[in-house]
Symmetry: C2
Subunit: 401 residues, 2 copies
């Protein structure tokens, strides 16, 4: 057994809104933004047309039940007391620097929940050192500050020499795959090249996607995006197999593979701009991914000497739910049963698209699910700018109590 993902700690964002209410909020925010932009007054039917567009292009409450956010803004329509969407700002909402401030506060809060302070400082450094990871990989594509919340959290806990911090930033929704690759690689490094290489690597995802909503952009693709994304927070540990306790509950890493899909580099973009990160998303993304998927999986399984066609039906699929159409497309292209992807549907329904934090939530659901036996293989697939298909083959170890 090489490396195991274990000790998953998902957090719930501070605020939670039903998808129905979220779509209402979006319609109201877009209408206000349009009024702020327009030279003339807003056409009287703008609101009703936008609601129609949201119903047509937005993700419906049947597919996403609730979404979480670190922002109270989405829970009410009292615009004067909005943090990012108050009338003091332009139609696009607050500038990037204000969104950064919210990001940093919320990310620090997440680290505080993941690494509670010592009850008694007098217990001193030995206990602290025990809990310090040898490496802390901070994964995000929604906020870039230096020092990062990961650096600050390590230094305020006194983990100055024992914990090195790595930023795995700006790799979009697929970043959990390079992150676990970096973690396994860190644990493979000869001791002298990384003083902490024999310890525990923690991976912490802080994705505050809802900070980047842009109510002044009414294009259908923006309505798709704004109806899908939510905040996602999860951390987990990566251990060498020999350090994983017998009978423990975790995911063994069997194989990792990252590829780009041919001739589709402009299908999806993600760039920091003046009023937050900006995304574009072409309609043909699901199709382009579908086309490459089966041959990708054949290569992934072959890395560990397995035949995809033989194994497929006994394998569980953790599919990054970019949106409901992505799961549908994967299901249809690969000819899977609905039961094989149900944890992806569940995470999408309960939380929305959490960018890079989504796959780890799906892994956690599969680990929690007692109907999935120890030893079952889990294919994981995520997609993002490039276009990139990043995936891995995992094997469930142990069953949660």
């Amino acid at each position: 057994m090489g490396f195991v993902l274990t000790d998953f700690r998902p957090l719930s964002p501070r605020f939670r809104v039903s998808q129905g209410a979220a779509l209402d909020w979006l319609a109201a925010a877009h209408e206000r933004a349009e009024a702020g932009n327009a030279q003339d007054s807003v056409p009287s039917d703008f609101g009703s047309r936008l609601r129609l567009l949201l119903r047509r292009f937005g993700c419906s409450p049947e597919k996403i039940g609730h979404r979480g956010s670190c922002l109270e803004d989405f829970t009410h329509q009292d615009w004067e007391r909005m943090r990012l969407f108050s009338p003091q700002y332009s139609a696009a909402g607050a500038p990037l620097s204000e969104r950064n401030r919210v990001f940093q506060d919320a990310a620090l809060q997440a680290f505080d929940q993941w690494y509670p302070a010592d009850g008694d400082d007098a217990q001193g450094s030995s206990e602290r050192a025990e809990r310090a990871p040898s490496e802390l990989i901070h994964v995000t594509c929604t906020g870039y500050l230096a020092p990062s919340a990961a650096q600050l959290s390590a230094s305020t806990r006194g983990w100055l020499k024992e914990t090195r911090v790595t930023h795995a930033y700006h790799m979009g929704c697929y970043a959990a795959v390079p992150a676990i690759r970096l973690a396994a690689a860190a644990l493979s490094l000869p001791q002298e090249l990384g003083h902490a290489s024999r310890g525990r690597v923690d991976v912490a995802h802080t994705e505050f996607c809802t900070l980047h909503f842009r109510p002044e952009r009414h294009e259908p693709e923006q309505l798709v995006v704004q109806s899908l994304f939510a905040d996602g927070l999860i951390r987990y540990s990566v251990l060498r197999g020999e350090d994983f306790p017998a009978g423990g509950n975790g995911m063994e890493i069997l194989a990792i593979r990252e590829e780009q899909v041919d001739a589709s580099s402009e299908s999806m973009t993600w760039v920091p701009e003046e009023s937050g990160m900006a995304m574009t998303l072409a309609r043909d993304v699901p199709e382009k991914i579908s086309r490459s998927l089966e041959s990708y999986l054949v290569r992934l399984f072959a890395q560990v000497g397995l035949d995809y066609a033989t194994e497929k039906s006994q394998t569980v699929f953790a599919v990054h739910p970019g949106g409901p159409r992505i799961i549908d497309g994967v299901l249809e292209t690969l000819g899977l049963e609905e039961a094989q992807v149900k944890w992806s549907r569940k995470v999408l329904f309960e939380r929305g698209n959490l960018s890079s934090a989504t796959l780890p939530h799906i892994w956690w659901e599969i680990l929690q699910d007692k109907t999935v036996s120890s030893g079952v293989r889990v294919v994981s697939l995520a997609f993002g700018p490039g276009l990139t298909i990043a995936g891995c083959l995992l094997k469930k170890r142990g069953v949660a109590e």
Copy 2:
């Protein structure tokens, strides 16, 4: 021999300005920005006071001779034809999205120089595959776009399946150290966890620091920053020792160590804002680094069973020249000879502070220098937000022809 850095390819930015001319340009740009900001007209002595401040706080032409930039803007004072500092923009200059566009174009040009297109496409995929790195680590803290120039360069060359791309972003001036750690770790990963793990890892630094100058910020620390940074472009390869050709010219990696310095998390910050990346830099940074440096080096050397005090005098020092005061501080704190840090002075003088690209330029200078024998050990030290001290111990292999 574990891992070797080799095949360094520094590039010169398209434009190059003498430090004297650069300081003049800064004074003029600040004066214009102040006129744009001020309610009243600019005090008549503003320009002369600013020149005085620049002389006092800015880096002098004795320490930096020239700096390079991808922008023509710094070579003239015809403001109408400036790309980022034209009168059409606010006093701060162009918004972040425009700076991003310049970044992406310039980064793509750098990759085109590093990986020239095949003369004849008919030669086909076998030649392409031979030149494709197994992993491409893109290092930058000055531009975050997805897809990145690294992803686009790989996909347009047909390196879709054979090259995985990792973004090592937002780790400031010290990022070359985590980058070579990630490269060595990638080459240590078991084959099935990264299909390319037995190949060549390329590290490409594209730092376009000059895109983020902010002429409306006149504080002394901003004048320091604006007088130091320049654009830096370099790529190199990391190979497993057994793949390094006998008699080749490269740097063997002996040890790597990354630490944070106690209680100094706000000494240096770096954050994307509306008008570019914003930096703060406290005056006590050199002092805080100096305080921790000797004990850090003792730990670094001990990782490979070496005694720092014994080895110090025969060791060459590659010190990230954050500014001249950083080199002076290290020299004084450690009691080094000027000759031990001369390559750091040379790179600072010839190119300025190139953020994460600086250390690799110093390594390249040491490799080029025939007076440095094969077998000489090279301590490398870099500093950045955290505060972080990131360093490594290298050993020169072979002497350049």
